[in-house]
């Protein structure tokens, strides 16, 4: 518990937001943070497509079709989400607080302006990182069993 608190405080300090007066605040968020960690664990494992969606959104906000396009690109055309599935995923991710609808609209294109944009939330980023770590652990176990060579690059 204390360690977490220090961790949060030091992270805050690194990012330049730390000031003594926020210590109490940091301590209060400790509890939430702990809960969130539990939340993060509860949300794992992610489905591969969910993982991909979050990954795509790390590059910035996208509208629905933008997400589909990026996923096609990233998967070399293998993952082609249909609209129904896409929005089922978006709804689920939003329901779990991993995504949020963006209030920002792009003004460059009238057509695009009408559309909803989605962005990844802080929780979403944490879940993405946790999922990546989980997968890395899995891969390491496989490597340890010499089934595949460890990538040493």
């Amino acid at each position: 518990m204390l360690e977490t608190s220090i961790l949060v405080a030091s992270r805050a300090a690194e990012s330049g937001h730390y000031s003594p007066s926020t210590t109490d605040h940091a301590r209060r968020t400790t509890v939430t943070d702990d809960q969130q960690r539990a939340d993060v664990e509860g949300l794992l494992p992610l489905k591969p497509v969910e993982f991909l969606v979050l990954l795509v959104l790390m590059d910035g906000e996208r509208h629905g079709y933008g997400i589909v396009q990026d996923m096609i690109e990233r998967s070399d055309g293998k993952v082609r989400l249909l609209p129904g599935n896409l929005y089922a995923i978006l709804r689920r991710l939003m329901g779990n607080g991993l995504l949020a609808e963006s209030s920002r609209r792009r003004a460059s294109d009238l057509e695009d302006q009408r559309r909803r944009y989605y962005g990844i939330t802080a929780l979403g980023k944490r879940v993405l990182v946790a999922e990546a770590e989980r997968m890395r652990n899995l891969v390491r176990q496989v490597e340890a069993s010499r089934l595949i060579e460890a990538d040493t690059r």
């Binding site: 509208h63 629905g64 079709y65 589909v68 249909l82 609209p83 129904g84 599935n85 896409l86 929005y87 089922a88 978006l90 709804r91 329901g95 559309r115 909803r116």
Partner: protein, 892 residues
């Protein structure tokens, strides 16, 4: 009022997706629906670029099937369902997913079944959307249930040659309208209107405009508002007002076409050959008002002008009943006001609900065609049922294994049902795409039918298609599992048993008999209509229509008011036309059969007896130029025709038709006899052959021809006989007319043969459609027979192999297999002919010269169908000859 408020005519795939989105809970749809549609549209576009329409089709089908499953998940969540635990909805979704997977594993079956169903659903849906627009949907007027058509019933018109059809649909006079306005009750408000024309000048080539003339009350009665400016005021009605300060209201389409939708045109001027009108308003887009007595009038008018007062009975009246006034009450009031004491006693007034009078004459053929597509749909279903049954047979090991592993019969049944419904929905999707294409073709090929331009594949039509698909799915999804599950386990355990197989064979055969029978019904209908059309088109109109060109022209009103001027104008134009290379002779007349009608007159035979003297004879009167009979090829049977010598100063003469001669002078020669026409005594100088006037199926009526030089032409129809293709000459004749007077409007121009063909437009349309449906049905039935035989052959390979090993000749085995399918072909054809015999009564009023039980048609269709069935069974049966007995024996 919602004229032309049609939903955006989006491409079919997107419309279907929009409809499917209704599967989602409302809040989800509200939140994401538009976005999903956006994504769908974008991906569709990408697929279009990537793989063309194949890509679009396969993408849309995948996207469609995904929606119900995802929607089911959304519902589960909306009901607070725990993810992971399978609720009813989710388990159905699971079934659907499984069904899609199994269907995907059998691409040939799935493709054939979906396409067959799609064809059936597409045909029904396309035809339904036409019936929906023309017959079912309301009229485009606000609260149209209160609108009535006011007819004057004139029993005497039954004896008037060109009014016979209208005796109970007679028009009102302007005076009657004024009587209603002045003394009329509050029971109903009446408006009157008529169609006319004006020649637009000063905006390019003189153009003939379709003009509506109407009373100031019209828009109020119809419940419409101009989109710009105003409609007429009561004080603008009548001759004086029209002469002193004429006003005009433009239709939306005309305003867009001629003025590019410029709102500043209000207050501007529109110049016709007669007068300059002030533009006071623009009507809403799509505003239509038909003259009901003109069948091919779909109600389009370029401009509307206030009516001018006259004496004639030619105004069609439309009334709006006051609230809580019944049609009977209004009719009683109308009779007392419009037909005051002392007026012609046999007349009456009848009020008919507007919608009823609007669809009169269009309902029968369209409903009949819808019925034919319904049969087509049943054939498609039977085909798919046969296919599915084959699949079930093929899968009986799978089924048996699943039952053996503990799946309940109910569970399997549900699975099969889901598969069928999914198949049905896929079929509807294909059907909708076909319907969108089909509807466009139906509209493009159609003769003038009111409200046909309002045909859209909208949500009602889509719902109809989806319903059809699901029903079709349920039909062969419940029947089949029941048939198949009975013996699924037993078959697997006792693989030699043939009992169930036999029963299934019988069922399959009965399906194929049904298909063949229904095909025969549609083909007989198509055959009867075709024969009737051919007979109709072979009717001799009474003149030689080959290489005859007619130009219906209208000189500006009042320009050739004196007879001398008029004759000079006509003479000059005819000289110009005769000088055109390729024209061998030319003449003119006030009307030409099938192009431009003429009036009927009550003529009295001078020196006649009895009723011929008193009441006279109703006859059509043409005013014709010299050489009319020579040019048109109407034969002169006795006496002589009309020539240059019958000038204005000579004695008044006429040529009468054979039927008029028979009617007026039954016992003596008509040559030299006299009759009274418009107060003048006219001497008959010749008898001409009978001519049909508007429709080929109408018997010729008494007709007489007087020299135009002795009366006046009125309307101008120039008739030219050409030695070359009419199409090359028509532009030259137009030029010739305009070289004499460039303000002459040309109403119509074409070969007389094309005008005659036009008179049978409706007949041709329904014949074409019925034939197309018949051929489609035959193809489906042939595919069905082919499938059934192919399976029978495949199942009996072993038997055939053994028989061949025992010495049977391959060719004889092929023959016996083909003969087996001959049994169902014969049974189906016999049943079908009986059905057609019964159903053809519905067709009888659309037939001409053919009895509904025409043996030639029945014989030809029967032979054709049997031949097609034999052909279709021969193709797979040939495989038998190639069976290698050695290989079969080795397997044994």
């Amino acid at each position: 009022m919602s004229y032309g408020d049609s939903p955006r005519n989006r491409a079919g795939p997107e419309a279907v997706y929009r409809l499917l989105l209704h599967c989602y809970p409302a809040d989800v749809r509200r939140q994401f629906g538009d976005d999903m549609l956006d994504v769908f549209r974008d991906m569709c576009e990408v697929e279009r670029q990537r793989r063309g329409w194949v890509g679009v089709l396969s993408f849309s089908l995948r996207a469609y099937t995904e929606v119900p499953m995802k929607a089911a998940e959304a519902w589960t969540q909306a009901r607070g369902g725990v993810p992971g635990r399978r609720g009813v909805v989710e388990s159905v979704a699971g079934d659907v997913r499984f069904a899609l997977r199994t269907l995907r594993k059998r691409p040939v079956f799935t493709t054939v079944a979906v396409l067959t169903l799609g064809l059936g659903i597409g045909a029904v849906t396309a035809m339904f959307s036409v019936v929906d627009a023309v017959l079912i949907k309301g009229l485009e007027y606000r609260d149209h249930a209160r609108l009535v058509t006011v007819w004057q019933v004139v029993p005497g018109w039954r004896d008037v040659v060109n009014l016979t059809d209208y005796w109970d649909k007679g028009w009102l006079s302007y005076e009657q309208y004024r009587m209603w306005v002045e003394n009329g009750d509050r029971a109903m408000e009446i408006a009157i209107h008529d169609g006319g024309g004006m020649t637009l000048t000063g905006l390019g080539e003189p153009e003939r405009l379709a003009v509506g003339e109407a009373s100031a009350s019209l828009l109020r009665v119809l419940g419409a508002q101009p989109v710009l400016g105003r409609w007429f005021l009561p004080e603008e009605e009548g001759t004086e007002a029209n002469a002193s300060r004429p006003v005009v209201v433009l239709s939306h389409e005309f305003w867009q076409r001629k003025f590019g939708g410029d709102p500043d045109m209000i207050g501007g001027t529109l110049t016709s050959s007669e007068r300059s009108y002030t533009i006071v308003g623009v009507l809403p887009r799509g505003f239509r008002l038909r003259m009901l007595t003109a069948k091919d009038d779909v109600g389009r008018r370029d401009v509307w002008v206030p009516l001018e007062a006259d004496q004639g009975y030619h105004w069609e009246a439309i009334g709006r009943l006051a609230p809580s006034v019944s049609i009977e009450q209004a009719q009683a009031v109308a009779r007392s006001v419009l037909l005051p004491q002392g007026s012609a006693s046999d007349r009456s007034i009848s009020l008919v609900p507007r919608k009823e009078s609007e669809i009169l004459g269009f309902g029968g053929p369209l409903v009949l065609l819808l019925g034919a597509t319904g049969l087509l749909m049943v054939i498609a279903c039977a085909n798919v049922a046969t296919l599915s049954l084959g699949e079930v047979l093929r899968r009986r090991h799978e089924m048996a294994t699943r039952v053996a592993l503990g799946a309940s019969g109910l569970r399997l049944m549900r699975q099969l049902l889901t598969e069928s419904v999914v198949l049905g929905i896929l079929g509807s999707a294909v059907g909708v795409v076909l319907a969108v294409v089909g509807t466009r073709m139906l509209v493009a090929l159609a003769p003038p039918i009111p409200r046909l331009d309002g045909v859209v594949v909208d949500h009602r039509v889509l719902a109809f298609a989806a319903l059809l698909g699901v029903l079709a799915g349920l039909l062969f999804g419940t029947v089949l599992p029941m048939m198949s599950l009975q013996g699924a386990v037993g078959d697997a355990l006792r693989s030699g048993t043939r009992g169930n197989v036999m029963r299934r064979e019988a069922f399959t055969r009965s399906l194929s008999v049904t298909e063949i029978a229904l095909t025969v019904v549609i083909l007989v209908a198509g055959g009867l209509l075709t024969r009737s059309l051919v007979l109709l088109m072979n009717v001799n109109p009474g003149f030689d229509s080959d290489n005859l060109v007619v130009i219906h022209a209208l000189p500006p009103n009042g320009r050739y008011s004196s007879q001398v001027e008029e004759m000079a104008f006509y003479g000059e134009v005819l000289d110009q036309i005769r000088a055109i290379p390729g024209v061998s002779s030319a003449t003119a007349a006030n009307g030409v059969p099938f192009v431009d009608g003429t009036s009927s007159y009550q003529v009295r035979v001078l020196g006649g007896e009895g009723d011929l003297l008193d009441a006279g004879v109703s006859a059509l009167g043409y005013r014709v130029g010299p050489g009319y009979f020579g040019v048109t090829g109407v034969p002169i049977i006795a006496g002589r025709g009309i020539s240059e010598s019958n000038g204005p100063t000579g004695p008044l003469v006429a040529v009468v038709s054979a039927s008029m001669a028979r009617r007026c002078w039954p016992r003596e020669s008509p040559i030299g006899a006299r009759f009274q026409f418009l107060g003048n005594a006219i001497t008959v100088i010749g008898v001409a052959g009978d001519v049909r006037h508007e429709m080929l199926d109408r018997e010729p009526v008494p007709t007489f021809y007087v020299p135009a030089a002795q009366s006046a032409y009125g309307d101008a129809n120039f008739v030219a006989r050409t030695g070359v293709d009419a199409r090359h000459v028509i532009p030259l004749i137009r030029e010739a007319v305009w070289s004499v007077d460039q303000d002459v409007a040309i109403v119509e121009a074409g070969s007389l043969a094309s005008f005659i063909a036009r008179s049978a437009n409706y007949e041709r349309y329904r014949t074409l459609l019925m034939t197309v449906f018949g051929v489609t049905a035959a193809l489906l039935a042939a595919a069905g027979v082919l499938g059934v035989t192919a399976r029978a052959v495949a199942q009996r390979t072993r038997e055939m192999g053994i028989r061949m090993a025992l010495g049977a000749r391959g060719r004889r085995l092929v023959g016996s297999t083909v003969l087996e399918s001959l049994t169902s072909a014969l049974a189906g054809t016999a049943l079908g002919l009986l059905g057609a015999f019964w159903a053809s009564r519905l067709l009888s009023r659309f037939l001409f010269g053919v009895a509904p039980s025409d043996p030639i048609t029945y014989g030809a269709v029967g032979t054709l169908v049997i031949a097609v069935c034999l052909g279709a069974s021969y193709v797979p049966a040939r495989q038998i000859a190639r069976v290698d007995p050695v290989r079969v024996m080795r397997v044994e």
